[in-house]
């Protein structure tokens, strides 16, 4: 049963309740939407490069090896840019047991990670800053682990999709939803 759905250009979020009459499991899915325009652009540019090289071969008598290498190069570029192995990432919240984090690939491969409920100290929403951009990420603070565990390893869904998942995780782990998310760093004056 689909309880709610949010979508944008790249991702769509679906919240399902398995076995709605009991509170056995809550599934939050972030699904990657297929983009046609990007694929078209990549193929077109690859075709353009190939056509250019063939023209060079025919008119300026360049060796066939150039055409061959250019073709290989084109295939590699297309494979790299159109590589979208991740189909969706899911968070299955089982209140008494734990949280299962799943990554579903287009090839059919599924990677699952299970975290027992008592190992989760707190789910946190953090802003990550890179040299070129800034984005939100949802992580779990795990007992006896120095590093945070990212809930979504491959995808970067927007914060409006992360908030309901964060709330569900807070409810399941019993942490307070909105307090003390950040610590105070003041100068010593």
């Amino acid at each position: 049963m689909v309880e709610s759905c949010i979508s944008n250009k790249i991702y769509s979020y679906k919240h399902e309740c398995k076995w709605p009459n009991s509170e056995a499991a809550d599934v939050h899915n972030i699904i990657v939407r297929k983009s046609r325009s990007k694929g078209f652009l990549v193929f077109f540019s690859a075709l353009l490069i190939l056509a250019n090289v063939i023209l060079l071969f025919l008119i300026k008598d360049k060796s066939i090896a150039v055409v061959f290498w250019s073709f290989i190069w084109d295939v590699l570029i297309v494979k790299l840019l159109l590589r979208k192995p991740v189909e969706k990432e899911s968070v299955v919240v089982m209140p008494a047991l734990g949280v299962q984090l799943e990554t579903h690939y287009v090839s059919g491969k599924i990677i699952r990670r299970f975290v027992p409920i008592d190992k989760i100290l707190k789910p946190v929403l953090l802003e990550c800053v890179t040299p070129v951009t800034c984005y939100w990420s949802l992580s779990l603070i795990i007992q006896e682990e120095a590093e945070l565990m990212l809930v979504f390893k491959e995808l970067r869904p927007p914060v409006k999709m992360l908030v309901p998942i964060w709330k569900a995780l807070c409810a399941a782990t019993g942490s307070e939803g909105s307090l003390n998310t950040f610590t105070d760093d003041g100068p010593c004056c």
Partner: protein
């Protein structure tokens, strides 16, 4: 606020940005600070009052300055300005490359900007460039005239047997002061405290009667303000902005020359009995106040916001007037910046950059702050 210089670095610029931001927050503004990462301190941090600081992971390459790439910081600055819904960018310190790049990109994107120079440049004085070196507050370095002290202290100790010196601070020139102490056997007359934490500066100051400032360059000098607030009579070199800081009866000025300084100290000692520390403190309290600085800065912001929007062509014509070759170079730089900005708008449109929900301070402000996702959720929950 954009600058390479911010906490955990300590200094005049850093304190200025922090205290001004706090006062502006109290006046109801939203303030976000942008600086480069310091070691492990990278990403978003929150300070007192909900002051959000972005430590952008661009490595500093020289004296805490980020590597000037001209256009490298455009994507991250654009993202931050859009997600935080910034209306005005305030850059600090002429030495800061991050500040200048941010101001350039902000102007390209149509934001209003304000620039505060904390150095002695003034845009007209080339000579002072040689003297300006990066230092810490109360630092024993060339710029702070430690070499002057080495000449002055033994002379004053010789003239006045009951004068003692307390030297607070640390730096490369500390060794020279130690050597002077050894040479003239002044261990019982000159006390070296080493680095003094800011919280203890007051207790060190009140143990003295005269504050000696021997800086060779100084744009403003908050140290003499602190000394005057503690009721000390100040003796200082007549450099930079120092003569404008204190009223004439609270300071004795001298040229940055040992003989002149000794004369000034002599004069200060003679007028010391007439000084009332409490009265001095009361006067200083009324003269300088960060809230007053914030209100004046607000007036500058209002004026900047009222400036008309300039199109690219209008701005280019202003750059062209900068010089025969320089003008054309500046125009080229700005045109490339503009084109890169347009490209970024196509690659990542502004609608795709999420706006950050506003911070709501919880009732127990000591315990931390909360982010009100309830309000955020109402606007963006279902489609």
């Amino acid at each position: 606020m954009v600058s390479d210089f911010f906490y955990p670095n300590f200094g005049g610029v850093e304190n200025h940005i922090y205290l001004l931001s706090q006062c502006l927050i109290k006046l109801g503004h939203k303030v976000v600070v942008l600086t480069h990462a310091y070691g492990n301190r990278s990403g978003v941090r929150y300070m007192t009052g909900g002051l959000k600081v972005y430590y952008v992971p661009w490595k500093p390459f020289l004296m805490q300055n980020t590597l000037p790439t001209f256009y490298g910081t455009l994507p991250i600055i654009r993202t931050i300005l859009i997600r935080e819904q910034i209306s005005l960018v305030h850059g600090h310190q002429a030495f800061s490359t991050l500040c200048h790049e941010a101001l350039m990109h902000a102007r390209t994107m149509g934001y209003k900007v304000v620039f505060t120079d904390h150095s002695l440049y003034g845009f007209a004085d080339v000579g002072s460039i040689h003297m300006n070196k990066d230092c810490h507050q109360k630092r024993l370095v060339y710029r702070k005239g430690a070499d002057l002290l080495v000449e002055v202290i033994p002379e004053v100790c010789r003239m006045y047997p009951n004068v003692r010196f307390i030297v607070g601070g640390d730096g490369p020139k500390r060794v020279r002061l130690e050597e002077m102490r050894e040479k003239h056997s002044l261990q019982d007359r000159v006390e070296m405290l080493g680095a003094v934490p800011h919280a203890q500066v007051r207790s060190v100051l009140i143990s003295g009667h005269i504050f000696l400032n021997s800086s060779l360059t100084e744009a403003f000098c908050i140290a003499i303000l602190e000394a005057a607030s503690c009721g000390l009579l100040t003796v200082s070199t007549r450099v930079g902005g120092v003569p404008e800081v204190l009223p004439d009866d609270m300071i004795v000025l001298a040229e940055p020359d040992p003989t002149d300084m000794v004369q000034a100290i002599k004069k200060a000692i003679s007028i010391l009995p007439m000084i009332d520390p409490q009265d001095m403190h009361n006067r200083m309290k009324k003269l300088y106040d960060w809230h007053d600085v914030a209100k004046r800065t607000e007036i500058v912001y209002d004026r900047a916001l009222k400036c008309s929007n300039q199109s690219l062509l209008e701005r280019l014509s202003r750059y062209l007037a900068c010089g025969a070759w320089a003008g054309k170079l500046f125009c080229l730089v700005m045109i490339i910046d503009f084109l890169l900005w347009r490209l970024l708008q196509l690659w990542k449109p502004a609608e795709d950059i999420e706006v950050v929900p506003d911070i709501v301070l919880s009732h127990d402000e000591d315990r931390g702050i909360s982010q009100d996702f309830q309000a955020f959720n109402k606007d963006h929950s279902l489609r």
